[in-house]
């Protein structure tokens, strides 16, 4: 049984701590999360653990404190998002990977191994993709998932991905939740905090119960994580606003967003947008698009297999797998 662990020390530290009052996720807290996960995982099995020796020493510290041996991946960590990407690439073939970070971290991991089997432990800023899960429960669930004795369909979702290409020689990119064009001139502090700057968005989900662009889209329509479609939105064109929605664009930030259009995007249907603008992926401004440049977005369902910890544990309980020292048959009484 092979389990990979990637923790992102940089997650949960950005400007949203300030603009949105988002929770601070200290490195020490991350060590504690990974420690809880490992303690639970190793309570019932002894998997081979392969880990990224991240620049914060998160996994190393957690392993050491539990006296558990792990195998360090051959990745020179530089404190950048490429650390997670390279680590995921090196983990190809393991039974399950657990990630610690936000949507941005999981996106980097997906870039390294697109259909990775994943449990995502959220550090809790603005995560539309992974839901909040207690690491201890995730540890127990991980053991059952890695043993592969549960019905995968019942306990996981095949994730959608926005595939992004440019009309110049730039590398293709992707997002798990949203690709957003903004009228900012700079990538700056990365997070998107000003809805006045929104230009377009392509989302894999639309859910009014979530925050960020998924919530904005969710104010207009519903697209579940397992539905075979996405949505595309445009914003802030003078005199063309079709509706204004008041929604949580980030934790703690409720703003009015002027929507010009919001429409379904079928799988493999391409949406193209032209610059000048800055393009953000899963909430972080990253690429510049000049006036004559174009970005193309296509939604497909070829991303990570994201395991649902709650569903896994319920399924394990139903099958009597959580009972020890007796037969698997559990009285229904």
């Amino acid at each position: 049984m092979q389990i990979g662990i990637i923790a992102n020390p940089n997650a949960g530290k950005d400007i949203r701590r300030l603009t949105a009052g988002a929770s601070v996720s200290s490195t020490e807290e991350k060590v504690a999360v990974v420690r809880r996960f490992l303690a639970a995982l190793c309570s019932s099995c002894c998997p081979d653990i392969h880990y990224l020796d991240d620049s914060g020493g998160i996994v190393r510290s957690a392993l050491r404190s539990l006296g558990i041996q792990g195998q360090e991946l051959d990745v020179q960590s530089e404190g950048l998002s490429t650390d997670s990407e390279c680590a995921a690439d090196k983990l190809r073939g393991v039974d399950l990977v657990v990630s610690l970070g936000g949507d941005g971290t999981n996106r980097a991991i997906t870039k390294g191994w697109r259909d990775i089997p994943l449990i995502a432990l959220s550090t809790g800023t603005n995560n539309a993709w992974a839901s909040m899960t207690e690491a201890t429960s995730a540890g127990i669930a991980a053991g059952h998932i890695a043993r592969k004795h549960l019905d995968e369909q019942a306990i996981s979702v095949k994730s959608k991905v926005v595939h992004v290409s440019f009309d110049d020689n730039r590398n293709d990119s992707l997002a798990l939740v949203d690709v957003v064009g903004t009228h900012d001139k700079f990538t700056g502090a990365r997070a998107i905090v000003d809805p006045e700057q929104y230009a377009f968005a392509v989302v894999t989900q639309a859910d009014a119960a979530k925050i960020g662009m998924v919530g904005v889209a969710g104010a207009c329509m519903q697209v579940r994580a397992d539905e075979k479609r996405g949505a595309a939105l445009t914003f802030n064109v003078e005199n063309e606003t079709s509706r204004t929605v008041r929604t949580a664009i980030a934790p703690g930030l409720v703003r009015d967003v002027r929507i010009v259009s919001c429409e379904e995007l079928r799988f493999n249907q391409c949406k193209s947008f032209s610059g000048p603008m800055v393009v953000a992926f899963d909430g972080e401004r990253e690429e510049y698009l000049a006036k004559d440049q174009t970005v193309n977005c296509v939604v497909k369902q070829d991303g990570p297999r994201l395991f649902d910890v709650s569903a896994t544990l319920r399924e394990a309980s139903r099958l009597g797998l959580l009972t020890i020292g007796r037969s698997r048959e559990v009285s229904s009484a």
């Binding site: 020390p9 940089n10 530290k13 950005d14 400007i15 701590r17 300030l18 603009t19 009052g21 601070v24 200290s26 490195t27 020490e28 620049s55 914060g56 020493g57 009228h183 900012d184 001139k185 700079f186 990538t187 700056g188 502090a189 990365r190 905090v193 000003d194 006045e196 700057q197 000048p276 510049y288 000049a290």
Partner: protein, 321 residues
């Protein structure tokens, strides 16, 4: 955030002014023309520029031993700055402070400081004055990763948060406390983590990106002015020159490869490249700005070198008011 061209050019100019001044000062120090020790700011320009482009002379700052960049970005003029480094009577401190104590009260600059960690408590006092007077201004205290280990930082952070002072703690984490790497002087990866112990937000900022700094500072100033209190901004950066001087004492505490990696993210080069893409600044215009600033620096050096030495009779002046 929507930044005007004039703001962008202002940030650029502040960075180039620092780079040019420090580069020439480094040459003069190595040529033995400037007495004492110089701690140069090259590599960290995006921080001073990103902060100071949002401050006025009525906003206060406290600085560090690496303080020239802060004073230049706050509006310091080359002539009296070089004169101070040369120890001349026309220097900002009449030759009594030198590089490590260079200051200008009229510009709201409460001094470089030779004592690591001494600035934050003083900044608490300056911010206290602003609050006492119900002013709409802010105070910014600059300090390094090394200073974040001093008790003074922790006392100041606690007091600023307790009193909800309009204060920004800007940590310039250049990875080294003098010659000791961060991993050898603190058990944490991010100084920003320390904020939570004092009830204020802590944010990690790319200190090589002037706009990342600008946006973060903008939000922290808004928080300060709203009466919500201080913010800790940890700007990750790197010093391109040594701890002291340009090549320093030749201590083998970091590698050429590490320096080269950081130099790929030179804050001025990255910013100029983007300004060109935006059509805000052409390569020719950038070149002209560099040349104009270099000649201003040279005039500053000439001013200093032709300035009189302090009269020994002034030795005991200004000990007391």
């Amino acid at each position: 955030m929507d930044l005007s061209d004039s703001t962008l050019l202002d940030i650029h100019r502040r960075m180039v002014r620092i780079r040019t001044f420090e580069t020439e000062a480094g040459k003069l120090a190595e040529a033995g023309k400037i007495p004492g020790a110089l701690h140069l700011y090259v590599g960290q320009e995006a921080i001073a520029a990103g902060v100071m482009s949002q401050l006025s002379n009525q906003d206060w700052i406290t600085s560090t031993h690496r303080g020239h960049g802060h004073l230049i970005a706050k509006g310091g003029e080359f002539g009296p700055m070089f004169a101070e480094l040369y120890g001349r009577a026309t220097g900002y401190c009449k030759g009594k402070g030198g590089s490590m104590h260079i200051s200008n009260m009229d510009l709201g600059m409460l001094g470089a400081n030779g004592i690591v960690g001494a600035g934050p408590p003083i900044a608490v006092g300056a911010a206290f004055t602003l609050k006492y007077r119900e002013s709409d201004n802010v105070t910014v205290t600059f300090f390094g990763d090394g200073a974040s280990n001093e008790g003074s930082f922790h006392e100041a952070a606690n007091m600023a948060s307790l009193y909800k002072l309009p204060l920004l703690f800007v940590c310039e984490n250049n990875g080294y406390g003098e010659y000791t790497p961060q991993e050898s002087h603190q058990a944490i990866l991010d100084v920003a983590d320390r904020a939570s112990g004092y009830g204020m937000p802590g944010v990690v900022v790319d200190g090589m990106d002037a706009i990342a700094v600008y946006e973060s500072v903008h939000a922290a100033i808004a928080r300060a002015k709203s009466g919500s209190g201080p913010t800790l901004l940890e700007c990750k950066t790197y010093r391109f020159f040594d701890h002291v001087g340009v090549r320093g004492m030749g201590l083998a505490y970091r590698t050429d490869e590490e320096l080269a990696e950081w130099q790929k993210r030179d804050p001025i080069h990255m910013f100029e490249a983007r300004l060109q893409e935006l059509g805000v600044l052409s390569a020719d215009q950038a070149k002209a700005i560099h040349e104009e600033i270099l000649s201003a620096v040279q005039r500053g050096i000439e001013f200093a070198e032709s300035s009189p030495m302090p009269d020994p009779a002034t030795l005991l002046e200004d000990v007391y008011a």
